[in-house]
């Protein structure tokens, strides 16, 4: 029951971050850069030892699905990439790197390049018309780099928020435990 509640809290946090992002995007013209606010949450789950594989995969699925619903992109693109990111990072056993904000930024940047690169690749493979202009060959690269950089700099905040939310649920669980 607690694991379900933890998953729900993590997904809710992702939902709140997406709502904030979409609201800020309507107020401030920052369309040239789109941080992936749910990506740090997915990474946090994959490197946290107490998050079960299936629970993490489900949460990543839900977070990806929410991102798809908010961004108006191709449905299931984020869902697939988020689940894949979770699986790959968990499989790579990167939890040793999870030490401080600098490591979090570097880790998120590296994983972000892979995840967003995968998204671009999938779109390039599946879509009939390429999602980017073939004339300016470097523009998708710079766009990806900007998105990943902003995501990486936001990562410590997201990590901190999701850790606090998870700790809060754990403390409630311990307080309610008999004896």
């Amino acid at each position: 029951m607690t694991s379900i509640l933890r998953t729900f809290v993590v997904v809710s946090l992702g939902f709140i971050l997406l709502v904030l992002q979409s609201t800020i995007a309507t107020l401030v013209n920052v369309h040239w850069v789109t941080p992936q606010v749910v990506l740090p949450i997915v990474i946090w789950q994959s490197i946290s030892s107490d998050v079960h594989l299936v629970r993490g995969a489900f949460a990543s699925f839900a977070l990806g699905y929410l991102a798809d619903s908010f961004c108006g992109n191709l449905m299931s693109l984020h869902t697939f990439v988020m689940v894949a990111t979770f699986t790959v990072v968990r499989g790579a056993g990167l939890r040793l790197f999870f030490r401080g904000p600098a490591y979090q930024v570097v880790l998120t940047f590296a994983v972000g390049v892979l995840a967003l690169g995968t998204m671009l690749a999938l779109r390039a493979i599946f879509e009939k018309l390429p999602p980017f202009s073939t004339e300016g060959q470097w523009s998708p690269f710079w766009g990806l780099l900007a998105d990943v950089s902003v995501t990486a700099f936001l990562a410590p905040l997201c990590f901190s928020a999701v850790r606090r939310a998870d700790t809060l649920v754990n403390r409630r669980k311990e307080e309610s435990a008999p004896g």
């Binding site: 979409s22 619903s69 449905m75 299931s76 689940v83 999938l122 009939k128």
Partner: protein, 297 residues
């Protein structure tokens, strides 16, 4: 048991990866290449996608509307202040337009009257106990070469004449003042007489020395005759209100309502010496006219 759990976890992960991949491929495929499986996937996923998108957009919209509402309140206050300012400006513009219209009419009098003229503002009004204006003061005086006896007119008609001047100011004796006497002529019938102010608590004048045989009716317009050196001819003075005929005597009298609303006067024209052209047109004996203007028949 442990092996089974591991297998189950791995299978679930693969399923969670495969599911969006199927959705993605089904969504991206060309309509002509969609097979039975893709169609089933699309049909199953479409309502879920629709619902999720609707929820996401609804929540976003609520938050955005709240943020916009904060802006709307600020905008509302700004617009209200601007509205107040514009209303004030509109009022000022309306007043300016009215002033402009009055001054334009006053200016149009100049070529008609001929001679030298001075535009002047009414800066003070002396009133009686019954709030009747008995004297007005102008913002032009000796320094502007204004002299006693100069006629004063407005767009409505004759106001009176300069009674005294000093410095930059001048007092005007109104046509309704009982000391005022002006040689007038009635437009209809050309009857002549001397117009004097009644000095009563209403704006009124009286025409004396109208011959008994002259045909005078209420409503007849009264103009300056031009006789005497003081007033040019054909300036509207007022309209006959009533006629008083006595049983005996050579003359009849008429009560006249002045054309000018003295209470609302703001700008006037002070007329200088009459133009030579006008004097030649009249060709009158000025000494005789002066005598007439003084009230002696």
């Amino acid at each position: 048991m442990n092996y089974f759990r591991r297998f189950r976890d791995a299978a679930l992960c693969v399923a969670l990866l495969a599911l969006p991949f199927f959705f993605l491929s089904a969504n991206l495929k060309d309509a002509s290449n969609v097979n039975m499986v893709d169609r089933l996937v699309l049909q199953a996923s479409a309502p879920v996608q629709f619902l999720a998108t609707q929820i996401a957009h609804a929540v976003s919209d609520v938050l955005e509307e709240y943020v916009y509402l904060v802006d709307v309140k600020r905008e509302h206050e700004r617009l209200r202040a601007e509205n107040d300012r514009l209303r004030q400006e509109q009022l000022e513009l309306r007043i300016h337009a009215q002033d402009n219209e009055r001054l334009r009419e006053l200016l149009s009098l100049r070529p008609r009257l001929g001679g030298e003229t001075w535009a002047a503002q009414v800066i003070a009004k002396e009133t009686s106990a019954h709030f009747r204006v008995v004297r007005i003061r102008l913002d032009r005086g000796e320094r502007d070469e204004i002299r006693e006896g100069m006629p004063v007119v407005s767009t409505e008609g004759l106001v009176g004449q300069i009674r005294r001047t000093w410095g930059r100011y001048a007092d005007v004796q109104l046509t309704v003042d009982q000391r005022s006497a002006i040689d007038v002529v009635l437009e209809r019938g050309r009857a002549r007489g001397i117009l004097r102010g009644t000095g009563a608590d209403e704006y009124a004048c009286r025409i004396e020395y109208l011959e008994r045989t002259d045909e005078v009716q209420p409503g007849d317009e009264v103009y300056t005759s031009g006789l005497g050196q003081r007033f040019p001819s054909s300036i509207l003075v007022g309209r006959v209100r009533s006629v008083v005929q006595r049983e005996h005597g050579l003359y009849q009298e008429a009560l006249v309502t002045p054309a000018v609303n003295f209470s609302a006067l703001q700008e006037v024209l002070v007329l200088g010496a009459m133009s030579t052209r006008r004097r030649l047109e009249h060709g009158e004996d000025w000494d005789h006219n002066e005598q007439v203007a003084d009230g002696s028949p």
